[in-house]
């Protein structure tokens, strides 16, 4: 895979959309759509990616596209795929078509969790992508079950009696892996080769596939818009966001940092964590590092690395 070849591919999410400068979501979507040369039908959950790419009467999608609501991108793309199978069986269609749904973490970890679980349990041949920016960014930075513990959001405020979000984040990738579907992976746009390769595997899987991709949000994470990919890289190097895949039940680490960087290095890049560096929150930094260490050790075991 050469970046020159990828750059020459026809873009399915084209220019002209109105996402913020430095937004991780379109970088993730474009890299993933490079993973197949087949025609693709795209579904989106309500969210930043949806609202900014299809402002009527314009559309940034050079592919058939459907958005129906917030909590049902899974069921919606499942319906499109079921129609495809039905019409193909009845001889009304003969082309090869791929199906993909994009949802943010609010639309995937939270409100769309049931719909996603249902569509993959039923075995629809779809790829579901969560672009995880760790909060409800489209409504203005509210905490979701993907928000890291300790992070500031407008509904996990930092105040005299509360240092940001109190709870740990949901391990959605593992939840989806527990569905025993052909392909599940976690990825980062900073590791584009790894992401595009995982996308190709997801599209080619015989059945449902799920990709959980970190997508930094300059507005919500409080970082300059030119730092997106650096932050997406640090998330991996600190083992906050490990890169791995679960292929037919086999867990495999796809990137092992040579040197595991301390979590604070990632925290320092984002304003949403700045209160953690106050003396009274020192214990939190320790606890958060311990949690990441524990999760990393567990992942290494699952992946047969230790």
């Amino acid at each position: 895979m050469k970046i020159k070849d990828l750059a020459a591919k026809k873009e399915k999410l084209t220019c002209g959309h109105r996402l913020c400068a430095g937004c991780g979501a379109p970088i993730v979507a474009r890299q993933i759509l490079m993973g197949t040369d087949e025609p693709v039908v795209v579904a989106c959950a309500t969210g930043c990616l949806e609202v900014s790419t299809t402002i009527y009467p314009s559309t940034a999608w050079d592919a058939p596209y459907i958005h129906s609501a917030f909590e049902n991108a899974g069921a919606t793309i499942g319906g499109v795929e079921a129609a495809y199978r039905s019409l193909k069986r009845r001889g009304k269609l003969d082309k090869e078509i791929k199906f993909i749904a994009f949802g943010g973490d609010g639309g995937t970890y939270d409100i769309g969790f049931q719909s996603l679980s249902g569509v993959i349990e039923r075995g629809h041949n779809i790829v579901y992508v969560c672009y995880d920016n760790g909060a409800y960014m489209n409504t203005g930075i509210q905490r979701s079950s993907a928000t890291p513990r300790g992070a500031w959001t407008t509904t996990s405020e930092v105040g005299k009696v509360q240092p940001g979000k109190k709870q740990n984040r949901k391990n959605l990738t593992a939840c989806i892996a527990a569905h025993d579907i052909p392909y599940v992976a976690q990825a980062s746009p900073a590791f584009w080769k790894d992401l595009v390769r995982k996308s190709t595997k997801a599209f080619e899987a015989d059945g449902p596939a799920f990709l959980n991709v970190i997508a930094p949000c300059p507005r919500g994470w409080r970082h300059p818009s030119d730092q997106t990919l650096r932050i997406a890289k640090l998330a991996v190097e600190t083992c906050f966001w490990p890169l791995y895949e679960v292929e037919n039940g086999e867990w495999k680490l796809t990137y092992k940092p040579k040197e595991k960087k301390p979590l604070v290095e990632w925290f320092k890049t984002q304003g949403r964590f700045k209160h953690l560096f106050k003396p009274e929150n020192e214990h939190l930094l320790e606890e958060l590092q311990e949690k990441v260490d524990k999760d990393w050790e567990r992942l290494l075991k699952l992946c047969g690395e230790v």
Binding site: P39, V41, A43, E50, V51, T54, I55, Y56, P57, T59, W61, D62, A63, P64, Y65, I66, H67, S68, A69, E71, N72, G74, A75, T76, I77, G78, G79, V80, E81, A82, A83, Y84, R85, S86, L87, R89, R90, L93, K95, I97, Q114, S115, S117, G118, V119, E121, R122
Partner: protein
């Protein structure tokens, strides 16, 4: 070639049979009482190869309607069935199905909404979906449920309409009661429904389209809604055209409503679904005694056939509208529309409202007689003592 059959069937059995004959591309399946026997019946057909529909066994009614939306936008002919809480859970998606102009045909077996939980018939489910831009057809019995299901496909998919259709029948009373019905030959139904010719389907990958964009302040949201309202208006003539064509294969003629002994009546009951049968029986009894009573059974509630209703009711002295649903804090939903419709007449009938049959409470011959007694009194005196009342309410103290 199959033959025309006269059978003993439940309402659910008749709907499942219509669905077998239609053999849609997609059926979204989720169980809920009293609808379940429809999707069970269809699943049996599918398991035995009598249909080759893609059955999608979803995990909720919300996903059921979402699945229908995706599949219909893709270009498939799509059906589903539900009741009560299921319809309520779909509520958000009902607006999206119609807003995207997707011709989905859904059967709703009318059932009360919780709380308290109650699995029996009333119309609070479909009346709650009144403003969702779904065409609503009502069916008195298994025969009408079967006939309406077949016609729903043609109405929904008509290029002048492109709106989803909801067909209703009364839970348990009709869905589970065994009745006589006549099933049309398979080939005739197949030819009648034909193949869907989708308009701008998602799966036309050479001509990519965007469904469900954002259409905000600078956009055309209001124009889209006006288009939708116009399509609902156009549905009126399409419903009648489809009914005419259906009469040719079935010998059964449908309109917006059925008039029974209405021409020379002085008073009449307006109602929906199975209560029409009981009412018709009482009309016969009273007519035998020379009492000038009649019945109007509404089949099409959305689009509301206002002009035609006025013509059918304008000569009456008094009309009672029966509502099997409450609009708490106001009057019954059917009553408020019928009354509003009659208001512009120079000389208009007195219109009263009876709430009946909530949560499956039986609508008896005595209830119908009482309603006609009140109507005859209004006709005679020209005075309405009570505009709003209940039929069949138990006279007991309950905790308030």
């Amino acid at each position: 070639m199959s033959k025309k059959r006269i059978v003993a069937t439940t309402g659910n059995g008749a709907v499942a049979e219509a669905m077998r004959q239609i053999n849609p591309d997609i059926l979204s399946i989720y169980p809920i009482t009293p609808q379940t026997a429809i999707v069970e019946g269809f699943s049996k057909f599918a398991a035995n190869g009598l249909v080759d529909t893609e059955c999608v066994t979803v995990e909720s009614e919300h996903s059921s309607m979402s699945n229908c939306i995706g599949a219909s936008a893709a270009g498939a002919r799509v059906m589903t069935a539900t009741s009560s809480q299921g319809l309520a859970l779909m509520h958000e998606m009902l607006y999206i199905a119609s807003g995207m102009r997707l011709p989905i045909a859904m059967f709703n077996v009318n059932r009360a909404l919780s709380a308290p939980i109650n699995i029996h018939c009333d119309h609070s489910d479909s009346m709650g979906a009144r403003d969702t831009s779904w065409i609503q057809l009502y069916s008195e019995d298994a025969q009408e449920a079967y006939d309406n299901t077949i016609q729903a496909i043609r109405i929904a998919e008509n290029r002048k309409v492109l709106l989803p259709v909801m067909v209703n029948m009364d839970g348990f009373i009709i869905s589970h009661g065994i009745q006589k019905a006549e099933f049309i030959e398979d080939e005739k139904v197949k030819n009648f429904v034909g193949e869907r010719e989708p308009f701008m389907p998602l799966l036309d990958i050479d001509n990519p389209v965007t469904y469900g964009p954002f259409d905000g302040l600078g956009g055309f949201f209001m124009e889209h809604k006006k288009n939708q309202a116009d399509a609902m208006e156009r549905a009126k003539s399409v419903i009648l055209e489809v009914a005419d064509e259906f009469a040719k294969i079935s010998g059964r003629k449908y309109g917006f409503f059925e008039e029974y002994m209405l021409d020379d009546a002085e008073v009449a009951i307006v109602t929906l679904n199975s209560s029409a049968g009981t009412t018709r029986h009482v009309v016969d009894e009273l007519r035998a005694k020379g009492v000038p009573v009649g019945l109007l059974k509404l089949r099409v509630f959305r689009p509301f056939p206002a002009e035609e209703l006025v013509n059918a009711l304008k000569h009456l002295k008094a009309v009672a509208v029966l509502d099997r649903a409450l609009s708490f804090g106001s009057v019954g939903p059917l009553f408020s529309e019928v009354k509003a419709t009659l208001f512009d007449l120079e000389v208009r009938p007195k219109v009263i409202n009876f709430i009946y049959g909530l949560g499956g409470r039986e609508y008896t011959l005595q209830d119908a007689k009482r309603a006609f007694d009140v109507l005859m009194d209004v006709a005679k005196t020209g005075k309405v003592k009570k505009t709003f009342d209940y039929l069949g309410l138990k006279e007991v103290e309950v905790l308030t």
